[in-house]
Amino acid sequence: MEKQAVIEFQNFSFQYYSQAEPTLHDINLKIYPGEKILIVGPSGSGKSTIGHCLNGLIPFSYQGEIKGSLKINGLETKNLDIFRLSKMVGTVLQDSDGQFVGLTAGEDIAFALENDNIPHTEMHARVGKVAEMVDMQNWLTSSPFELSGGQKQRTSLAGVMIDDVDILLFDEPLANLDPATGKTAIEIIDDIHQASQKTIVIIEHRLEDVLHRPIDRVIVLEEGRIIADMNTHDLVSSTILKETGIREPLYVTALKYAGVRVTSDTLPGHITTLNTDLSRQALTTWHKTIIKQDWRNTNPSILKMEHVYFSYDGKRQILDDISFDIREGEMVSIVGKNGAGKSTLSKLLCGFEKEDRGTIYYRGEDIKDKTIKERAEIIGLVMQNPNQMISKPMIYDEVALGLRLRNVPEDEIAERIEKVLKICGLLPFRNWPISALSYGQKKRVTIAAILVLNPKILILDEPTAGQDFRHYTEIMEFLVEINKLGITIILITHDMHLMLEYTPRAIVLAGGRIIADTAASVVLTDSQVIAEANLKETSLFHLAQLAGISDGTAFVQGFIDYERELKDR
């Protein structure tokens, strides 16, 4: 007898009332009890919509037309309400900060019980028990401000597990986490899967990070259709990832560069299962053939911090003796876990906050007395979320804003805007309303609005957060273009791929101090720096070890050089 599926889509289609086309087409999918499923797909492929259908937000909060059938535990979801569904499917949303309903961790975990009228004493007992499962028992009285990103996510997880649901749904669990915390999150999910045998569905586009632990099946979505439903080894050895614009694991890319044919019998789905018996030779040979590039920048200094100290309250030192020297035309990343002082650093540079001690130099000149407005003409800051910057309905007006506030004559404004929109690839849209743009395009508008002031240095806070591989590449290649025009770029980021591929140099902050200021390849292979800054060792390093290449750092650097060569060709 066939096993009863816990989730069953049958010829399922869904169209939002606000959209002209269906978002999901003819989905047929069965998920069995205790399976651990990963759903991947580029932005707009419909993967979040599938999640919403499973947890009942569709049609409860987002309305649209449903065709076909979706059964959970044998019950047709159309006939259930979101409350009954939430007893079967527990959802951990991607933004663990925004979904923190309670004032403390304990209260947040208890939220579902409160709504079920569970008496006070029983509630506290159950919260205590679930908190132990996710190791949060000592933090129950802490407020969200006092918790780290990982702890907030564990709180959210406890908050859905408290209902003893059958299915746990994770909607982009890695989106807001630093690499080390993301890795831990995947481990926690796996541990819970092992211990409880619950069905687990993970929606995420960061494939390699999820594959840190085993996955039973991967479902690939593209344009609302399922185009693949296979195990990790088959998927990674196929061409599907490349075709759909999902980033394949870096070690797989390296194998391909080395001319190795990646087949499923070498178990390439996880780096830990990968069999390198046949590829060792090829990797070593390839590594030797790469021409070393010299990325050192010998231009004069453009931005220099010397022994800078800063504290908000006079007690806790946020920046502690920071010194670095960035040269003209460099592209540098500043990395470190939340609270390490990255954002504060950028606030000091822009003049939003004043350093307690120390000096900041722009081209050798102390900029202490420059106001926020004056500094903005040298150093432009692009915030993470474009919605935080956009204040005009039309693209042209938004970009013109900074110039109009500086009383630049309208005809000069028109000229400068045309130039900057051209650089940003937005010229055809100049008379469009901003609301018609995609997220990536909005990001460009905010960059254009800053670039139009002709800053010499651009600081971007997490420029690619939440972007799929295609948009990520688009934004980053665009920044490379700007960089080539001579603008120095400083990126504040968690993203290790970004660091590796785009910034030859990385400054690593931990506890308000600089613990490393060197090549990204060195940073991501130095276990001590990795541990202190909540980073994660790159799988390329692991691959070098498997292949018996002793200098792993050189191997990683070789990969970067090779890839840049390919792109520049």
Binding site: S61, E107, Y312, R375, N385
Partner: protein
């Protein structure tokens, strides 16, 4: 960030006032507010005001935390006083039944001692509610407050909305600050140098992005709440509730005493809501 974000929001401190249950504080707040709202006896009002300043001191609220609110309230009270004088300059005479002219102003209008006394009383009457409100707001855990409201039969959805607003206030405040700085970097002048009309337009440049990012936040939080069964039943229970203990009853007794004394003073001494020094 850390220090500034905590302005204007609940801070957990270890004081006798913080230890009281939210319900106690709500009832005490209402009792004392009713007392000063009922009485027009400046002696009673000043006494309550002194009392509330003492409580403010006990709850270790710093002036820097409340400066902004105090300034706004003062502006409001002064405007209110000026306007009410011009609308009804004879109110005091009507109430106290005597006339002691102080100065004559335009068109047979007089400033009378009665009017001044009446308006000063009113000023302190409203003024004394402010410290009470501040104490309540800054020493009450929003969730516990919601559960207290719910216990006195306020609909729990409304009660929760209040708590949620208080809960997200620091977040929105922080976001406002970030947006404002980023816009200033683009050349926005928020200082007093800008013209009034421009300042209004400039403020919009911060408010609009703030609204959009707040709307994003609201969508997220309401989804999160739906997914965990909020508003499913007619009632709900609360994780954060505090049982009433001796301290609560003492606080309630003190407040009730003040309230009753106020009524008694009105009934037996003043024979009305007004204290009349003119007869």
């Amino acid at each position: 960030m850390t220090v500034k974000a905590k302005l204007f929001s609940y801070n957990l401190l270890d004081t006798p006032i913080h230890e009281l249950s939210g319900l106690t504080k709500l009832i005490c707040f209402l009792l004392l507010t009713f007392a000063v709202m009922f009485s027009y006896d400046i002696r009673v009002i000043l006494a309550v005001m002194v009392f509330s300043f003492i409580v403010l001191k006990i709850s270790r609220i710093k002036f820097s935390q409340i400066r902004l609110m105090v300034i706004y309230v003062l502006i409001f009270l002064v405007t209110n006083a000026v306007i009410s004088f011009f609308f009804s300059p004879e109110e005091g005479v009507k109430i106290y039944g005597t006339r002691h002219n102080l100065v004559a102003i335009y068109g047979g209008m007089y400033i009378t001692w009665e009017q001044i006394f009446y308006q000063v009383t009113k000023f302190f009457k409203y003024g004394s509610v402010i410290p009470l409100g501040i104490i309540f707001l800054l020493t009450t855990n929003p969730s516990e407050f919601a559960s207290s409201l719910n216990r006195i039969k306020v609909n729990y959805k409304a009660a929760f909305a209040v708590a949620l607003t208080l809960r997200y206030f620091p977040d929105v405040q922080r976001e406002y600050r970030d947006i404002s700085l980023a816009q200033q970097a683009r050349g926005l002048d928020l200082s007093h140098k800008a013209k009034f009309k421009d300042r209004f337009k400039n403020a919009l440049m911060i408010i609009i992005p703030l609204i959009f990012s707040t709307l994003d936040r609201i969508e997220l939080i309401s989804n999160a709440m739906d997914l965990r069964g909020f508003a499913k039943n007619k009632t709900r229970t609360w994780y954060t509730t505090r049982r009433m203990n001796r301290k609560d009853f003492i606080a309630l007794a003190i407040s009730a005493l003040i309230f009753i004394s106020t009524i008694l003073i009105s009934v037996f001494i003043n024979h009305g809501r007004f204290y009349n020094p003119f007869i």
